[in-house]
Symmetry: C2
Subunit: 152 residues, 2 copies
DNA sequence: GTAATTCCTTAACCTGACTTTAGGTCAAGA
DNA sequence: TCTTGACCTAAAGTCAGGTTAAGGAATTAC
């Protein structure tokens, strides 16, 4: 019923990871996985790609973008199946990024109570407006705050 | 140099909040502010709209979507300028949501170390795959995990 | 009173992260 | 062998959250 002789089919990976087939193809386009092709042109994945894709899912829950995830995955060895230690290295890097994100949110939260009710919301000097805090932004929010130009 | 006799112009609000004029118009479309119009058809805002818009900016930093923000703002009284207590009520609700979000991230983080290196990444039973944890998702990530259908 | 700003609307465009569609090919089972 | 399900590509569509453009009207500054 499944599993070709060599490598895993895209459908099998989809079932194993819970991803849509179309999503996996998209991730390949984005360089997150690099399956080979069989004689007929169909994708053939390695077992370790299940973990790669799982990692993608988890990293997304943490709020990382595809390109950030690609950067991390690019640190894995191309020539051999990643070892536990390879994954642990990535895990540590992620953990740091995550800790930073949590800290930012906590800092914002701690400013919230005093700030929303007070008049400072209208001031650029309010702690909640501090550019440092804006680092938390991931793409949402008005773009020109992030370095572009306002309307003429 | 500015400030019409009655109400505030959109440009003034833009300068006060740091938002682009186009963003403020977009927020009006989305129901986040409801300016009146003068005889010539130009928007006239109230002072309290500065705070409304500031709130939008902060809430976005916290990762809330426009429609979530609209829900909160809709709790403010329409008929009178919101009081400090009105804002504090919203602030408290936000703080709760924020605490929940931080907790989720922490829980995910605490699972990360043991999980990335182990084999469980390939299993639906892994703690990091738990549907409860998926609540953290805001729109990114494969859609059908959130209730739609996979490819035929 | 006129030029320079500012503002108006509508519509199109943009990015990220995918999904859907259309039209065909491959492969595994009866 | 034949049929059905799984797979292929390329292009277009979707949604959020805006920005940009085009063409015109209202204000403000001098």
């Amino acid at each position: 019923m499944q599993q070709p002789k060599y490598g895993l089919s895209i459908g099998y990976l989809a079932r194993r990871t819970g991803l849509a087939v179309s999503a996996i193809r998209y991730y390949e386009q984005q360089g997150l996985v690099k399956p080979e092709r069989n004689a007929g042109g169909q994708r053939r994945f390695m077992r370790s790609d299940i973990r790669r894709l799982s990692f993608v899912l988890i990293a997304q829950q943490f709020g990382f973008s595809i390109s950030q995830i690609r950067e991390e995955l690019d640190r894995l060895p191309d020539n051999r199946t990643p070892t536990k230690e390879d994954w642990n290295r990535i895990s540590r890097r992620f953990r740091e990024a995550l800790d930073a994100r949590i800290e930012t949110l906590e800092r914002l939260r701690d400013n919230l109570d005093g700030c929303i009710g007070c008049g400072c919301l209208s001031l650029q000097s309010c702690a909640l407006y501090n550019p440092a805090d804006r680092a938390a932004q991931k793409g949402a929010g008005p773009r020109y705050l992030l370095g572009d130009r306002p309307e003429t």
